[in-house]
């Protein structure tokens, strides 16, 4: 996947690009409005990560440009402003998703992949990972052709692990992915622990390998080398 990151803060841009590069994406960076337009006119990208506050122009202008030039890329807005107007405007102008700063890099990755799935694979997407098979269309999961009876959160968790393979996911990161914003730190870590435990149990019971491992003190990781 080819991604253009439009972000004026270089440190943050570097975080994003280095995480996404390790994920195997080809990343390019634009740190201002001019660069962004320049790159958009010259190259084709699958996804665009767009900060809407830029030193020399509003990111929403870039969004309008993308639409008027009929550039067919998935767009993820990142913004420090958790403002409803920006969100609504952004989505109305054709952005595919909106992420508020500060965000977790695995979350950004998961959102980008989801956009990619929706945009280029028309949503009906089968994820296959060794013996694990996921049909994102009807949210069915099977291991070795044994159907798994997963709860919604367990399903979301499995998908999250599969999008961030071999990555350490802290319990905070997982909790936020599962329950989102606005819940005033509701998620006790026990909940995450419980969900992960149940998920692992169900996969193992279906004769799957126990890919998810506890990284002591840190969180969890889906280890593909097992």
């Amino acid at each position: 996947m080819k991604v253009l990151v439009i972000e004026d803060n270089e440190e943050l841009a570097q975080n994003i690009t280095s995480y996404l590069t390790r994920e195997g994406y080809i990343c390019e960076l634009a740190t201002n409005h001019f660069q962004a337009i320049d790159k958009l006119n010259g190259f084709k990208y699958d996804c665009i990560v767009l900060d809407i506050i830029l030193p020399d122009g509003n990111g929403l202008d870039i969004l309008s440009h993308i639409k008027s030039e009929k550039i067919d890329s998935g767009i993820l807005i990142i913004s420090a402003k958790n403002s409803l107007d920006d969100k609504v405007n952004g989505l109305e102008l054709g952005a595919d998703d909106y992420l508020t700063k500060p965000f977790h890099l695995p979350e950004l990755n998961a959102r980008l992949k989801a956009i990619y799935r929706r945009k280029y694979l028309q949503g009906a997407y089968e994820i296959r990972f060794n013996e694990i098979y996921i049909n994102t269309d009807n949210m069915e999961v099977s291991v070795n052709d044994n159907m798994l009876d997963l709860t919604r959160k367990e399903y979301a968790l499995l998908l999250y692990f599969l999008t961030n393979q071999n990555r350490v996911l802290t319990r905070q990161t997982i909790a936020e992915h599962l329950w989102g914003d606005y819940t005033d730190n509701l998620m006790n870590f026990d909940f995450v622990y419980q969900h992960v435990k149940n998920l692992r149990k169900k996969i193992v019971q279906a004769d799957g390998k126990d890919y998810i491992e506890t990284v002591y003190g840190l969180g969890y990781k889906l280890n593909t080398n097992k």
Binding site: N9, E11, L12, N15, I16, S18, Y19, R22, A80, K81, N82, S83, L84, T100, K101, P102, F103, H104, L105, P106, T151, R152, K153, R167, V168, T170, Q172, T173, E176, W179, D181, Y182, T183, D184, N185, L186, M187, N188, D190, F191, Q194, H195, V215, Y216, G217, L218, G219
Partner: protein, 416 residues
């Protein structure tokens, strides 16, 4: 009691007292004037009789209805002109009436005559009646006039004052509109208005500054926080030992918490600033069911027992986003502050929503429940802004919220 009513009442009381004194005074002056005139008239009659007697008219022919002439012995001492009150029987009224009597004795042509005459004096009762009648008429006129005038005054003179009061009542810092007061020529009102304008403008300015500061501070915070968070996440992927991992995770958790505080404060600021003004009618039953559905797994995981009674199609006027935050916070609280194998009871009727959960009593006063950064010790992960946000949302959406602790249950009640 209205100011104008008070003034009017005092004015009427004073008028009343003055009128009573005035009435007494007029009574006495009328009486003395009438008496004086009567005596003058009677004396004229006597003088006339004396002149006639001097001319040699026979007393009998002068003696008539009210004039009495009798001859006295010469030896009786002469009496001077005297005025006395007497009671005379009047046939017409069939009773004795007070009369004025003027009498004298004179020696005319060698005869000593006693001459006396009397005449009706005006009955004091009549004077009293007249005085009372006129005074009360005056009072009545006063009453009507004062009433009308006070209404006019309160409409006209007190209008700027009343306008000011109304403007103050309607004044809200959040609306960011300066206080607009009516022009007035009354010195006191001018002073009051000047003072109020100065004060509210200052409050508005301070509020604006504070608001901008909070907004900017929290926005400016987010990017550095995002950088720190990202760096820590990248660091987690590198070759690190267990000790280092623990340090990184602690830092990561702290950053997470800081960002949550920032987000919550921004939300509260936005609520303060009335950024969520558009009030739509939301199907509360649906939002509540969705919210409970989202929390279902958490509830089960904590082995909580959920009892719900949700009426269908309950409509509430609230911003859709706020209704989500409101319910998520309330249900989230009910889960977090619950005990093992506890209960959550959710009851929605068209008039109110009641969410109660089992739990240990608060270790702080219930009034502080909705304050910022107030929390029970046992859940230190919480930021302590959830209920402050709930309160704020309720205030903005005209929903009454109250808290009660009964039978080991925390009860939060929202009345629409």
């Amino acid at each position: 009691m209205k100011l104008i009513q008070k003034f009017t009442l005092w004015y009427l009381v004073i008028t009343f007292v003055v009128l009573i004194i005035g009435g007494l005074l007029s009574y006495y002056s009328i009486k003395s004037e009438v008496d004086y005139e009567q005596v003058k008239y009677l004396r004229k009659n006597i003088d006339f009789t004396i002149r006639e007697l001097n001319r040699g008219v026979i007393p009998d022919s002068l003696s008539q209805n009210r004039m009495e002439i009798s001859e006295l012995a010469m030896s009786t001492p002469k009496t001077r002109l005297s005025v006395t009150d007497t009671l005379v029987y009047t046939r017409y009224l069939r009773r004795k009436e007070p009369q004025l009597k003027v009498s004298t004795s004179q020696i005319i042509g060698g005869h000593h005559f006693y001459i006396s005459t009397y005449g009706a004096i005006v009955d004091t009762r009549d004077i009293t009646t007249a005085v009372v009648k006129s005074i009360s008429t005056i009072f009545l006129i006063m009453l009507v006039v004062t009433g009308l005038v006070s209404i006019l005054i309160s409409r006209k003179v007190l209008l700027p004052f009343n306008r000011t009061l109304k403007a103050m009542q309607e004044f809200r810092l959040q609306q960011k509109k300066p206080l607009r007061l009516m022009e007035t020529k009354t010195t006191e009102f001018k002073k009051l208005n000047n003072f109020l304008s100065l004060m509210t403008n200052k409050a508005l300015k301070d509020y604006q500054t504070l608001k901008e500061f909070t907004e900017n501070a929290s926005h400016e915070m987010q990017t550095p926080l995002a950088i720190i968070m990202g760096k820590l996440e990248l660091l987690l992927e590198s070759q690190i030992d267990d000790e280092q991992a623990k340090l990184i995770v602690s830092a990561h958790d702290a950053v997470e918490k800081l960002s949550k505080v920032g987000q919550s404060l921004t939300l509260i600021t936005k609520l303060d600033n009335r950024e969520f003004e558009s009030q739509e009618t939301v199907n509360f039953s649906q939002v509540l069911n969705d919210s409970l559905f989202a929390f279902q797994e958490l509830i089960e995981m904590k082995s909580l027992h959920l009892e719900k009674q949700i009426a269908d199609h309950v409509k509430v006027k609230i911003h859709p986003l706020l209704s989500n935050i409101l319910l998520n916070n309330l249900i989230g609280n009910a889960i977090r502050h619950n005990i093992k194998d506890g209960v959550i009871r959710v009851e929605l009727t068209p008039a109110r929503l009641e969410i109660s959960n089992s739990g240990d009593p608060l270790n702080f006063p219930a009034e502080k429940m909705f304050n910022r950064f107030i929390k029970n010790n046992q859940s230190n992960e919480s930021v302590g802004l959830g209920l402050a946000i709930v309160k704020q949302i309720c205030e903005q959406s005209n929903i009454d919220i109250s808290y009660d602790y009964r039978d080991s249950m925390h009860i939060l009640r929202l009345s629409f």
